[in-house]
Amino acid sequence: MAAHLPGAGVTPTAAQRATWAARGGLRIEGFLPAGQAEALLAALRALPHPLRASEGALGFLYGECALVPEPDCDHPLCAFGRWWHDAGRAFVADLSGLALASPADHRVVGMHYGKGGYLDCHNDYDGQRAVAYVLGLTPAAWPWEEGGHLEFVAVDGDAEVLVERRPPGFNTLDLFDVSTGGPLHRVPILTAHHERRTISGWFLRA
């Protein structure tokens, strides 16, 4: 798979840079070359995603599968993980203008939301995280009323205001700056039997 991923020299477009500069985040459509998202989706579907639920203040319920890429392994997720935490990170650093590091283990985390899956509102900020990423691998589409969309919200006085709603995507890359207390965001509870899949995580401050 690695040979088919974008090369090390992939660079953001001017439009992508402008969007990041203006909004501190963006969605890139068609991020991976043809066939790669399909390969990742197939690989993720073949792996167990045990359900995880919140034990603290932040509420969530989703299936998760964390994988640490092995050197020279040609499994699609290993190949993607090696690329993502090298050339992929360089791409995001270039786009954001932030000095970024990967988690020490270069983990790749697949997430699966089925009916009942949700992620309550939070901002990701922990002093270490710099850029949040969500590689969308959801092949189907459904109305936002059924949940499972990525929502950015703000607070206006006592009111919660929806700023933006991004439907689950396939081969989409959502990026947003969380280095200074990033945008409040959530995934409302999925009320129907849909399959929302992503590879999600954060690049850290270098």
């Binding site: 045990p50 359900l51 995880r52 639920a53 509420g59 319920l61 299936g63 089925g114 009916k115 009942g116 899956g117 949700y118 509870i189 009320t191």
Partner: protein
Amino acid sequence: MSALHPRLAGPPPAALADAFAREGHVRVDDALAPGLAAELALVLRGLPLGPERAPGSVAWAGALGVPAGLDPQNPPCIHAAIRLLDQDLPAFVGALVGQPVARPDPGRLPLWFFRKGGYADDEGPLVPGGIDVLIGLTGGHWPAAWGGHLALSDRTLPPGFATLDLLRDRRFAVPLLTHHVEALWLRTCLVPA
């Protein structure tokens, strides 16, 4: 000492037996010995249960194995609950249906909890031909629209506290729980002894 409420000592009321025979479902309120539901709810909800996805459901479920005989290391309510499920309840239900019944898996406390994101689309008897038993340990109250209630084809009931639901040949659901509340049940079944 029975773990059922003292007023349930003796033969079940004929009206209750009739209702169960007619409708395949009855709910008995305040069915447990005084204080037992409160103790059980506190002890059981502290257990490290994780959510499990199965076809048509997400629930925090598990079976707590309880050694035979009194173990003072366990809270007394655990042993009372085993007595309830393995002795008092089969005796009560057996009298209700006019046939001896027993649990197929004695000695285990079957936990069936729902938290935000939990649901059960379509549930039937745990054992074909058996009587499903749900013992409610939910202290809170919330609107049915939030989910987590017991939904039968002709009625929807809140999860209940110290309640006993008996179901025979009835399918039911627990609609998706969309808020941070918690529905706690012991769920077991009784089969002809």
